[in-house]
């Protein structure tokens, strides 16, 4: 079996692969946990918009301190949190429908980001990295940031589990139990923002939504209680990260795309064959 063992070990002899693998697993887990709330609350469009809207912030960090720097993370974080709170406020009191308002903010910010990046000399390469991720370029410093903030998100999700459950399932109950529903709603928006920034380098802006939505949706089809759904989603997210990177290494495809394709593949298999909720199960003659 030395060949098979070698198949798995060879990529790990490169430190950048090990760092990339670690980042992909953390991102897979964090996105899946936060993504469970995203799909249950119907916030997929918000998540996608937020991911795109951080582009100008990241572009400014890029212009100031270059591609590899961890300062990209901080620029992205500030932009994401401001945008999340901004969208949250818009959807409260606006004259427009919420998705319309989100669409305007999202497209405008994204255009601003592209305009800023287009002033750089290595325009195309940089844009590709920001849009689709560059997990193999993860430095030790940014891996550390990913781990710390990813861990923080997981801790908050666990600490506020029952409160987030109630505001998602029955906001009116949350009010009659006198929970601080507005504060909890904004906390959840900020967790989504942090998750997006943590995942930026791994899957990039354009593919972020897949990491938030696909593992959680897959787990939703397989489970019937939120804790197991979150656990299964995290497992699928982590496996997708690892398998995606091996795929990327051996057949030379873009790493972010490879991770997302593995997620999507798992989803398709589950959507077809899941007991009770799968397509095959529902199609079989009664």
């Amino acid at each position: 079996m030395p060949n098979l063992l070698n198949f798995f070990l060879e990529p790990l002899s490169y430190p950048f692969m090990v760092r990339g693998m670690a980042a992909a697993v953390i991102v897979g887990i964090v996105c899946a946990l936060v993504g469970s709330y995203v799909i249950l609350r119907g916030m997929a469009f918000f998540g996608d918009a937020l991911a795109h809207a951080i582009l100008p912030g990241v572009a400014i960090g890029y212009l100031i301190s270059g591609a590899a720097s961890a300062s990209l993370f901080w620029w992205g974080l500030v932009t994401a949190i401001l945008t999340a709170v901004g969208i949250g406020a818009i959807s409260k009191g606006a004259q427009l429908k919420e998705d319309t308002a989100i669409g305007i903010v999202f497209a405008g910010m994204f255009a601003l980001g592209i305009a800023l990046i287009s002033t750089m000399r290595s325009y195309t390469v940089d844009l590709v990295h920001l849009l689709f991720g560059n997990v193999l370029g993860v430095t030790t410093a940014s891996l550390l940031l990913t781990a710390v903030f990813g861990g923080l998100v997981v801790l908050i999700i666990i600490a506020f589990y029952k409160e987030f459950l109630v505001i998602s399932f029955d906001p009116v109950l949350a009010e009659t139990l006198r929970l601080p529903t507005e504060a909890l709603r904004y906390l959840l928006l900020m967790l989504i923002a942090v998750t997006i920034v943590v995942s930026l380098q791994t899957v990039g802006v354009a593919l972020m939504l897949a990491m938030l939505v696909t593992p959680a949706a897959t787990a939703y089809l397989l489970t019937r209680r939120l804790p197991t759904m979150m656990a299964v989603a995290a497992l699928i997210g982590a496996i997708s990260g690892v398998v995606g990177l091996y795929l990327s290494y051996y057949i030379s495809i873009a790493s972010g795309a490879a991770i997302v394709l593995v997620c999507t593949g798992i989803f398709l298999v589950v959507a077809l064959f899941a007991p009770q909720r799968g397509w095959v199960w529902r199609m079989r003659p009664a």
Binding site: F160, D170, T176, R224, R225, L226
Partner: protein
């Protein structure tokens, strides 16, 4: 439903907060919904332990009234007091939503939903303790749903779903339960299951307000009836409230009345019931 007779020791008769105060009092309460007045100048008192049916056409403000009483929607005028103080500080008011307002595909089982009623008492960062699970199981026993504790909520019948939400209100230790159309869309047997639970709530001294479209059930099974259409058109015993003039002014043409010759009126809200 035989579990219904076992009265759990844990949940004794709820104590009133302030002796001598009505459990609920509204004085000239108005409320807006989507910019227009949904409720105007509503005043009434509820006696602790009574069961009241609230009837009125669609858009009469029944849900708005409940949400204002629960402290979920602000009133735009007047005063709501629950056991002597404003509703915003009480966690003893339970709003039981219409079944159509609930996401039945949400990944929670019956016990999860009932446990949600405990969260107001648990506080942040606290996990449910033995006592909380006791409340959950005893609440499920009261509504006859013990054997369904681990079912996903979407797998239940309409009547069972309704009883789960009443169990949640019990677990919340609610003394005032506001139930939004719990009887709508249920067959007669499921409705009787709900009435059996209401009898149990009566024995515990829980005050209940129910919104319904069924005027016959409202007249027969409740202590008092409230006729609402933006304004309070009548509140009292059904014989005095359900007069043809009042019903016509509440419903306009959307009601059927038959004079059967011996003086009785058979009335039917033609709105939504099957």
């Amino acid at each position: 439903m035989q579990n219904l007779r076992q009265i759990p020791s844990l949940m004794g008769k709820p104590q009133p907060h302030l002796a001598g105060e009505p459990i609920l009092a509204l004085r000239d309460v108005s409320a807006r919904y989507n910019g227009r007045f949904a409720l105007q100048d509503i005043s009434f008192d509820l006696i602790a332990g009574e069961q009241v049916a609230v009837v009125g056409p669609n858009g009469a403000g029944k849900s708005t009234l409940f949400k204002v009483i629960a402290g979920v929607l602000p009133s735009s005028g007047g005063e709501v007091t629950v056991a002597g103080s404003g509703p915003g500080k009480h966690i003893c008011i339970a709003y039981v939503p219409q079944r159509s307002q609930v996401d039945w595909t949400f990944p929670v089982d019956v016990a999860d939903v009932v446990m949600m009623g405990r969260i107001g008492r648990l506080g942040l960062f606290r996990r449910p303790k033995r006592l909380d699970w006791d409340y959950v199981h005893q609440s499920l026993a009261v509504v006859g749903m013990s054997e369904f504790a681990e079912r996903q909520i979407g797998e239940l019948s309409g009547g069972q779903q309704q009883r789960v939400f009443i169990a949640r209100a019990l677990a919340q230790e609610a003394e005032l339960m506001l139930m939004d159309e719990p009887l709508t869309g249920l067959d007669v047997r499921s409705q009787e299951d709900i009435f059996a639970v209401l009898d149990e709530l009566r024995a515990r001294g829980v005050t209940v307000m129910i919104a319904t479209h069924d005027l016959n059930l409202a007249a027969e099974r409740f202590d008092r009836v409230m006729l609402l259409n933006g304004r309070l058109l009548g509140f009292g015993r059904s014989e005095t409230v359900f007069t043809s003039e009042r019903l016509l002014s509440a419903y306009g043409g959307h009601i059927r009345m038959l004079d059967t010759g011996d003086g009785t009126l058979i009335v039917n809200d033609t709105c939504c019931d099957p």
